[in-house]
Subunit: 199 residues, 2 copies
């Protein structure tokens, strides 16, 4: 799950970093809805006005905390660039690579757990993920039915994340990357460019 | 998501019903971990000892509250009985039928939301779902790699439930049953009986 990396503004690095660290901890502990700018400021030992000055609203701050350690445009490009007939495989490889890192896996788990229990956050993440990553990929790869061809791979990807890294069901939880790629890539490929009309 | 229907013991129907209604409300509001037998008893206006007498432990009571309005053996049979080459389609049709009912959809949403945020409940549900429904179906339909061929359809089914009925992403949220069957049945079929070894 790739979220936007906005440019880090230079200067005041320590204060910004303190606020972000405090915000990540508060969002993880209380969820998006439960966390407050006041609580985050208190944890970071700064004035709430400073939090608003640096980050804007709680929503802006949340978006800032859920950045992945890579550029979502590059992830989308990695999925899109190349033969459209192999896009499914590239997408699975990129995702499995992200989830194989402690940071990427923890963020995915946190997003999934937060989204499912908070409707406001769910709407925010749904919009964010589809606008930023899912729809651009589907638009670039699919030649018809783009909205449905965006939904279907997302459903398989989220379920895979759930079984492999949240419920941790074996053997999929410990399966080699090549095993998962072989199993799931053809599914994503059919959803993006294959036949959907006959059952 | 089908959970076991145990036989309803006759008699004392009102008290049992009151406790079950209270338990469903408490599990929905506080989650499995947060709900207590004491709190459920108070809500039902009965003695906690009576709750234990009728239902046993909190876990037993929870299992009782998450029963679906149908027999999971019949659901598994509906998926298994018939041509193995059409099992994927039968599974999708059974699930979409359950989720099309208010009760079935609400239960699925509640289970998914509870499981993701409570590790103890997640382990319980994972064991329950795989032992009761997923593995029996995969065992009956697949001829090799049964554990993996059980995991993979589960991943697609959970992701479909999430996109269609939790995140409610369009167009999949409002898609006609036949559209979803056409799109997803071939995926389940390949996971159960198709080629998994080449990507």
């Amino acid at each position: 799950m790739a979220m936007a990396r906005t440019g880090r503004r230079p200067g005041k690095g320590d204060t910004r970093g303190q606020v972000l660290t405090a915000a990540r901890a508060e969002f993880a502990a209380r969820g998006y809805r439960g966390a407050t700018v006041r609580g985050i400021a208190a944890k970071a030992e700064v004035d709430p006005a400073l939090v608003h000055h640096y980050f804007g609203t709680k929503r802006d701050l949340f978006v800032e905390t859920i950045q992945l350690p890579f550029d979502p445009d590059k992830v989308a490009a990695a999925a899109v660039d190349g033969d459209p007939a192999a896009a499914g495989e590239r997408i699975v490889r990129v995702l499995l690579g992200v989830w194989a890192t402690d940071e990427g896996r923890a963020l995915m788990q946190s997003l999934l757990r937060s989204a499912v229990t908070d409707d406001e956050l769910l709407a925010l993440l749904r919009e964010f993920m589809f606008e930023t990553v899912v729809l651009p990929i589907a638009t670039a790869v699919a030649t018809d039915n783009v909205p449905l061809r965006a939904n279907l791979p997302a459903s398989q990807v989220i379920g895979l994340a759930f079984i492999r890294h949240v419920a941790e069901v074996e053997p999929l939880a410990s399966a080699e990357i090549e095993t998962v790629v072989s199993a799931v890539a053809p599914t994503l490929q059919r959803y993006l460019t294959g036949e959907l009309g006959s059952s």
